[in-house]
């Protein structure tokens, strides 16, 4: 009796496990947002979130508008202030230039860098470009993929170690 009950329970749990996460994402896109608690847990600041493109996989305008709406995950937050709009977007060769609305000017330098990093990583992921320039008024930042250090790593080489 107990064995039968256990088997039924396991089967039910397996079934419920299959449905976790809801419907399957058909056209996944990766957005980058800020970890809300990075100051407390000292974990990675920028975290990715996978979203559904719904037939707009190649429509960058649509995807950035979707990005601006913020993350679905409650543990993440958008790097941009509310009502921030992407005024213009210009794509050229291997780079993209974005012009953001004036609300970004209220941010501190570090916050602006962080927001630009999130948008840049998202755009690089979506389009494959290597460089993003974000502009807002007289504030400009150019970010290349290799120029972002997101977390410190343990040294692989033992000579780097201080003993």
């Amino acid at each position: 009796m107990k064995q039968t009950f256990c088997l039924i329970l396991i089967f039910c749990l397996l079934l419920s496990g299959c449905s976790i996460g809801g419907e399957r994402i058909k056209e996944p896109v990766t957005f980058y947002y800020i970890n809300k608690d990075y100051r407390n847990d000292m974990e990675q600041v920028i975290v990715s979130e996978i979203r559904e493109a719904s037939g707009h996989r190649d429509d960058l305008d649509y995807l950035l508008a979707l990005y601006s709406m913020g993350p679905a995950n409650e543990e993440l937050r958008s790097p941009l202030p509310r009502n921030t709009k992407i005024i213009s977007m210009h794509s050229e060769d291997d780079s993209i230039a974005l012009n953001l609305s004036a609300s970004v000017l209220e941010m501190s330098d570090a916050e602006f860098t962080l927001a630009s990093a999130c948008i840049s990583l998202t755009c690089m992921e979506l389009t494959g470009v290597q460089q993003i320039t974000v502009t807002c008024g007289d504030r400009t930042i150019t970010i290349q993929k290799d120029h972002l250090m997101l977390y410190s790593q343990f040294p692989q080489n033992s000579e780097e170690v201080t003993k």
Binding site: Y38, M42, F154, T162, K163
Partner: protein, 479 residues
């Protein structure tokens, strides 16, 4: 040597599990406790190392940021000069950023001009001293960051990280030692648990073996437990129970033996008489005499069977249906019944009855007690003798005395008169139709009704039976 049947072997097959259950319970409990202690020690040890490391690293970081804050211009050259002067830093990596997290100086020269978005750096730019610490694979990675404050304004941050294996190895060594001690303790606990469980189950097994021995019929067996705990008490109780069982069994055997002997005697007489009638030519008078004897033996058998039934009934009936009755009227009724019998035996019958003697009893029970005692007093009396029935109230008791002037009971027989089928004078008892059950019935009924019965006798002078019942006063006991 105890032979256990296959069925019993199968029945008790799983009993050995108890000892393992006991042992495993101790092992599991201590394992959990030790595991918790182990984790606690490990975490505490790491915390201690972290605290000491944090203090030292933040101090170093603040020293660097204070030095950098004195610079007019923050660039790689100026910062390199300052850091170069501080030889005792000994960190794995030192990064200096401006307020936008752009790297101005990197001791590894890998991230110049890059943006360093470490949580420590971003928190420091917000104005906080911060330290994070990770312990992994026998190494510690400590990261600290402090803001660079220039005339009250945060102009950047200093980030230091230190990857250290020496401290990690020390933590690992400590954890290993604690783990070894834990395992050693667990082994010791396991061994002791098994030993304890074995000792415990051995004593239980002793009781179980004794039970089987007794089940096989050896009531003389006693279990010897030793010690001074609950099992010892259990063993003693078991021995007491066995003793009572033995006594009960002896009584039963004796009763069966006595009953069969007593019943066999009249049956043998009947058989002998009937055989005689069939085998020999007799005149009608002799046959009539023999048939009369057969009838007497049959009557005796009948009486004996009735008394046995009466005794069985007396032992089985509860006294829940008892009622408050006065003793005197019942005694008078019995006296009226037996007075002709006493007159026939030439015995003077005297009644000295006090009226106020209420007791709680079934009237039939009281009738039977009085009848048996008076009947015995007449049967075993001598012609010209007397029988006195005396009833009085003595404090809270009603006392009934039946005194005869018969031949008395020898001293050595007094202790046996209430036993079943015991007769002082067998020949006379049979001659008077006695079954040897009357007094046994009386004692059973008296005891069942919370009473006591005593006998005193002087050989050649007579016997006195004294029955004492608690008197029932309606006003006091009724409440």
């Amino acid at each position: 040597m105890v032979i256990i049947s296959e069925n019993k072997r199968a029945k008790y097959k799983g009993y050995g599990k108890t000892q393992y259950r006991y042992a495993m319970t101790y092992v599991v409990i201590t394992f959990i406790v030790l595991l918790i202690l182990n984790i606690y020690c490990s975490i505490t040890c790491q915390q201690l190392f972290y605290q000491s490391k944090r203090e030292a690293m933040i101090e170093k970081c603040l020293l660097v940021s204070d030095e950098i804050a004195t610079l007019d211009v923050l660039n790689n050259t100026s910062i390199s000069t300052v850091v170069g002067q501080m030889e005792s830093l000994k960190v794995t990596r030192l990064i200096v950023t401006d307020q936008s997290a752009k790297v101005l100086y990197d001791s590894n020269n890998e991230a110049m001009g890059h943006y360093s978005l470490f949580p420590e750096i971003l928190t420091a730019i917000d104005g906080n001293d911060v330290c994070s610490w990770k312990y992994r694979d026998g190494a510690t990675d400590t990261c600290v960051a402090t803001p660079i404050v220039y005339y009250g304004t945060i102009v950047g941050s200093v980030y230091m990280s230190e990857y250290e294996t020496a401290q990690g190895a020390m933590i690992q060594s400590l954890q290993k030692t604690v783990l070894q001690i834990t395992l050693l303790l667990e082994i010791v606990v396991t061994v002791f648990s098994i030993a304890f469980a074995n000792t415990f189950s051995r004593r239980l097994k002793r009781i179980m073996t004794s039970m089987r021995i007794i089940q096989e019929g050896d009531y003389t067996h006693k279990v010897s437990m030793g010690g001074n705990d609950e099992l010892t008490v259990l063993g003693n109780e078991f021995n007491d129970l066995t003793e009572r069982l033995q006594t009960s069994e002896q009584k039963r055997s004796r009763f069966v033996s006595d009953a069969s002997h007593e019943l066999k005697t009249p049956l043998a007489s009947i058989k002998l008489l009937s055989d005689s009638i069939l085998q020999y030519d007799m005149d009608i008078e002799t046959v009539r005499e023999f048939v009369g004897d057969i009838g007497d033996e049959a009557d005796r058998l009948n009486r004996m069977t009735a008394k046995l039934l009466s005794l069985t009934k007396a032992e089985g009936v509860s006294n829940e249906e008892s009622e408050i009755i006065m003793m005197a009227p019942t005694i008078n009724r019995v006296a009226r019944m037996l007075r002709p019998y006493a007159l026939k035996a030439q015995i003077t019958f005297l009644l000295e009855l006090e009226e106020d003697c209420p007791i709680l009893i079934l009237e039939d029970d009281l009738y039977q007690i009085v009848f048996n005692l008076i009947e015995n007093g007449i049967k075993y009396n001598q012609p010209g003798g007397s029988l006195t029935v005396h009833l009085s109230r003595e404090e809270d008791n009603a006392v009934l005395k039946v005194m005869d002037t018969g031949m008395g009971i020898p001293e050595e027989a007094i202790g046996h008169v209430f036993e079943r089928f015991y007769r002082v004078d067998k020949a006379r008892s049979r001659a008077t139709g006695g079954s040897g059950l009357g007094l046994a019935i009386v004692r059973t009924i008296v005891q069942r009704n919370r009473g006591e019965i005593h006998v005193s006798s002087t050989a050649g002078k007579g016997t006195t039976f004294t029955v004492v019942f608690p008197a029932f006063d309606t006003e006091v006991d009724g409440e």
